[in-house]
Amino acid sequence: MNPLTLSVAIPVSLAALSLSAIAAPGQNRKKREPAPAPVSTPASVPTPEKPVSEAKDVGTKWRIWKDTQGRQLEAAFCALQDDWCTVQARNGQIHRLQLSELVVEDRVFAAAAAKKQAETKLKADYVKKAAYQIDFHIGSTLVAKGLKFNPPATDSQFVRRVYLDTIGRIPSAEEAALFLKDNSPDKRAKLIDALLASPGYSMHMFDWMGDMLRIKDMFFRGAYSFLFQDWLKDQLAADRPWDVLVRELLTADGKLCENGATGFLLRDAQMPLDGVSNLLTTFLGANVACAQCHDHPLADWSQKDFYQMAAFFGASDGFDEKGLRAANRLGKREKGADSLPRNQLIMITGANIFRMQDLPAQNLKYPKDYKYDDAKPESSVVPQLIHWNSNDLRSDAYKINTSDPTKLRDEFARWMTHPDNPRFATAIANRLWKKVFGLAVQEPVDDLDDPKKAFNPALLGHLTEIMKTARFDLQQFQRVLLNSQTYQRAASPTPDLATGPYLFPGPVTRRLSAEQTWNSLLTLAAGPQIDKTFLRRGAKMPLLSLPDEKPTVESFQAVVNRLEQAGIRTIAAKGAKKGGSGVETFAADYQGTPPLRRFDLVLARASELPQPAPESHFLRLFGSSDRLVADGSTSDGSVPQALMLMNGPAAKLVSDPGSCAVQEAAKNRDPDQQITSLFLSFYSRPPSFQENNAAKTALKSGLTLGDLAWTLLNSREFLFVP
């Protein structure tokens, strides 16, 4: 499909007037369905006839947005996060508009729309009731074993924990103090709502999904996923429901450099069978990975089951090997190819050979060495869905049509994201529970085949219902969890699961994730303004697209010229052929507040840095995933971590005079107030009597506030979620 086709649907005058300077001009083209409805509409539960929801009052939602420079964009309101308004244009493209740059009328409209939208989300009394039910399910299992809930968390524990769990960083001293001195009875619920509606929430969710979805800047020499990352960030900012988001990931078509949503499937384009295995374990907790090679020894899945599922992707192709060979040949042999800059040649090739497209027929065959009686080796596989028990088959989710090969992915996606899918809602609910409680209701999160193995099956069932009631709105689902009394209790020490299930008398003590640790360090060094720095690198990716015909030196040259005209800085991809990976070549593009740079570090949050961060980066040292396998992050301790916190740039950032936390403390004259300020910065609590005395003595003995900050960074309390 020609990339221009869809843009024709937009009135030319509007396209010309679009706020291209603010928002990315990428195309979110999809060939099957028209652009999905604006996400602000609540009805996302699909019906068999209509996989993508349509809002009834859509017409009233379209409006022309104007900025103070007179630029215009026709779009519908999606979400408001502090100063950033997310809107969706008619072609489905999501744009982020900075509120302060819009005309007054639009600012007023956005605020009103946000207020109205809040009313369409879960009602406060439902949240209370559902949260109470969580407490009830847990309470009954505790009582049955003669156990008790942990005592309630203090306000200090709560505020540090809830900041970390919602926006992925600790609160600043000011933010913590503001909450502590608030006397209103519903201050916890109010804080939860405010945090979930702030930009830090989507940044934190991006970190969380980055680990789960193995988000990586470069898939292959020269093939960058920047547009995918931008797309996902936009979806998160717009609070796109999980079912809608996943459905788009599974059905997207087009090139990696033109349609961001393709980035998930294209991540595994070179190994489609592994890709199927990954998506089944991640989205459904179906433990099929072993069945890829042989019948599963423990679970029920046979190799045939696996192949029948993989066949839903057997009429799709993501990796254009012919295109790669043609480009390689061109680079080596064609006359005139010498004049093409080699690293640009690689980048253009990479951007174009990753593309999702449907084939006329399903091509997957059983392997040559297939050794079971239920199918013939090398015979064609007939797509068929797995089920966990025979009742599953009666549900609406299983009413699919596999007759049209070009629709196989759509049918699969419809089944997978259907509310009646036996595992889809449970899998994401269980994962999010783990995110905020430190341990899942059923471990491991990628194997939910036997729900009886859950620590508390009734609780898992209840969470699944909440997820469906919230219509897969992940933000609203977490709102329920965070409002439960169970969440708002003191944390338990890490349990030994080998001795029995954990019954959740409270959350589990956890080390901050690598991303939370880094973001918290930045909060101490630079303050909460780090939530206003956004990395967006995809806007110019579509410039890399080659025409569909056989590539020629001229067509490559045309792209090179386009890149030059657009002023794209390309760094030589060092040793792309021999000896190692090229570093990203597209110019980093920060929106909002430019990040500070200190001690050779870019002080941008984890989500706004290269994915994954380089091996030597703080993030990797603290266990951030290398993004090769799903859920690959760790929270183990190590000697190099201790060295980093005692002697490395991390120590310098928080203890030198430029540190935001130290400066904040130094505003006070009185040593007691200085010490309290630092304790609030690091631990969201005032010091105990003894701690205050010890710190005061230390200051008298010649230590500075910087030394005190160093000490608070290195006490283990900094690294753990209270």
């Binding site: 070179q270 190994m271 069978l273 592994d274 990975a289 072993c290 890829q292 090679c293 090997e321 040559k368 060495d369 491991p444 194997d447 020490p493 890490t494 030994d496 699961l497 080998a498 003590t509 080390r511 052929k577 000896g579 190692g580 030597s616 990797r620 040292l621 266990g623 290398d626 090769l628 396998v629 929270s635 183990d636 301790g637 190590s638 000697v639 190099p640 971590q641 201790a642 005692m646 002697n647 490395g648 120590a651 203890s655 105990s688 701690e691 010890a694 230390a698 003995s701 230590l703 030394d707 005190l708 160093w710 000490t711 608070l712 290195n714 006490s715 283990r716 309390e717 690294l719 753990f720």
Partner: protein, 428 residues
């Protein structure tokens, strides 16, 4: 050139202790106090058996993603042949043309061509090959370095007993104390960074005093095993910062031509770092190399990754040999699984049923091939070696008791290699 033969008192003590323990199954030196729960070693696994205990140090070169055995150490001529041709070596076995340097040291190495397993999923296969156990939800198994530390004690007073290069340790300690986890070095060229304190000694002393006080009260209140593990890391770190042995991490001390021979890339320099570390008292080093998951584009990738491996492995074997360390140092080239005999012109899928492992030194026969696969390289044809067997083999060489069971914290009996059998034919 720096050369530190292992003659310091610490190593002698360790060696005596380990002979004593493996011979009698009990600790004669209770002050090491690390054998709680260990049962007596079964009769028959005493010293005096071929190769037992000859490897005082172990270097594992781990290839993430799954090395194609057919395109490396188990070349085939039939329909499964890949882009590389079989070439002759200095021993009477062949390798593929991607490994010209290895061919020149083949008379010093042994190849196991009959590795076999059932796990074809990266993370689980890597877990199995690193621990000898299949991955389970409720327990984490130790790597061999941690087992060795359990049975033999620490290998150095200031340096860690295990180091993991180019990858985080990923629970290498298993159910043993967190400090048995390998020290991770993510960038070999930089070695161990941030070792210099920021403040003057007087300020540092005051900072640490206050830190001790604040941290003690937090540790008591949290009462969490992970918090206590971090406390141990801080203690080790403070010890290490004072150590003379820190230079072991500094590759700048190596001559430039030797650094070139290993290859100026993360893997090559990681191998050189491994040699420096074992020379200075680290017992167990794991060096990772990424990029072996060759579903597509196998030829190019073998030229790149295979070229790095070829150069670095050959350099390491020669370097250790020339220093007289090869007989007491076992080098293992391990991977997740093999790759399918079906070559689609571009790459190959995962194939756990048959794959290869290479061993060198540490009492292993030189120029030897153990086991074989069928004509296609699809199934093991003789002497199958499971990941558990491989663990037992390496542990045997390292002089560790295979029968001794250790109770995991939850009371489950565990032993090295999950009852795997050592492939004794490998030892001279």
């Amino acid at each position: 050139m720096n050369s530190f033969p292992l003659q310091n008192p610490q190593d002698r003590r360790t060696f005596i202790e380990h002979c004593a323990r493996t011979a009698f199954g009990v600790s004669l030196m209770p002050w090491l106090n690390n054998t709680a729960g260990a049962a007596p070693v079964a009769a028959g696994s005493a010293t005096g058996r071929p190769g037992f205990g000859k490897a005082q140090r172990v270097i594992v070169l781990f290839l993430d993603g799954g090395l194609s055995h057919i395109d490396s150490f188990d070349p085939k001529t039939g329909p499964s042949k890949g882009p590389g041709d079989a070439i002759s070596t200095k021993a009477d076995f062949q390798v593929t043309s991607f490994f010209p340097e290895t061919a020149k040291v083949a008379q010093k190495i042994a190849v196991i061509r009959s590795m076999t397993a059932k796990v074809g999923v990266h993370a689980s296969a890597q877990y199995l090959m690193r621990t000898g156990y299949e991955k389970r939800g409720t327990i984490i198994h130790p790597t061999l370095g941690a087992w060795a530390q359990h049975f033999l004690g620490a290998s150095s007073q200031s340096l860690p007993s295990s180091v993991c290069v180019n990858q985080n340790a990923n629970h290498g300690n298993g159910f043993f104390p967190a400090t048995y986890s390998p020290l991770p070095i993510l960038v070999p060229e930089s070695g161990l960074t941030n070792v210099q304190g920021l403040a003057n000694p007087e300020t540092t002393r005051k900072r640490l005093a206050l830190l001790g006080e604040l941290n003690a009260s937090y540790t008591k209140q949290a009462n969490d095993p992970n918090v206590r593990a971090y406390n141990e890391f801080y203690d080790s770190t403070l010890g290490l910062m004072k150590s003379e042995d820190l230079k072991a991490f500094d590759l700048a001390a190596e001559p430039a031509d030797l650094r070139d021979r290993y290859g100026r890339n993360r893997f090559g320099q990681g191998c050189l770092l491994a040699r420096r570390l074992v020379e200075n008292g680290v017992r167990f080093v794991e060096v990772h190399s990424g990029g072996w998951d060759m579903h597509k584009d196998l030829q190019d990738s073998m030229e790149d990754r295979g070229g790095e491996l070829d150069k670095a492995f050959a350099a390491l074997v020669d370097d250790l040999d020339s220093r007289g360390l090869l007989d007491s140092t076992l080098v293992v080239v391990a991977t997740e699984f093999g790759r399918k005999p079906d070559f689609d012109g571009s790459g190959r899928g995962h194939h756990p049923i048959a794959f290869s492992t290479v061993l060198a030194g540490g009492g292993v026969k030189r120029g030897y091939v153990h086991g074989s696969t069928d004509a296609l390289g699809k199934n093991p044809a003789s002497d199958g070696v499971s990941p558990g067997d491989l663990h037992a083999t390496v542990a045997w060489a390292a002089g560790l008791p295979l029968q001794t069971e250790v109770q995991s914290p939850s009371g489950r009996p565990m032993s090295i290699g999950n009852k795997g059998k050592p492939a004794l034919a490998l030892f001279a």
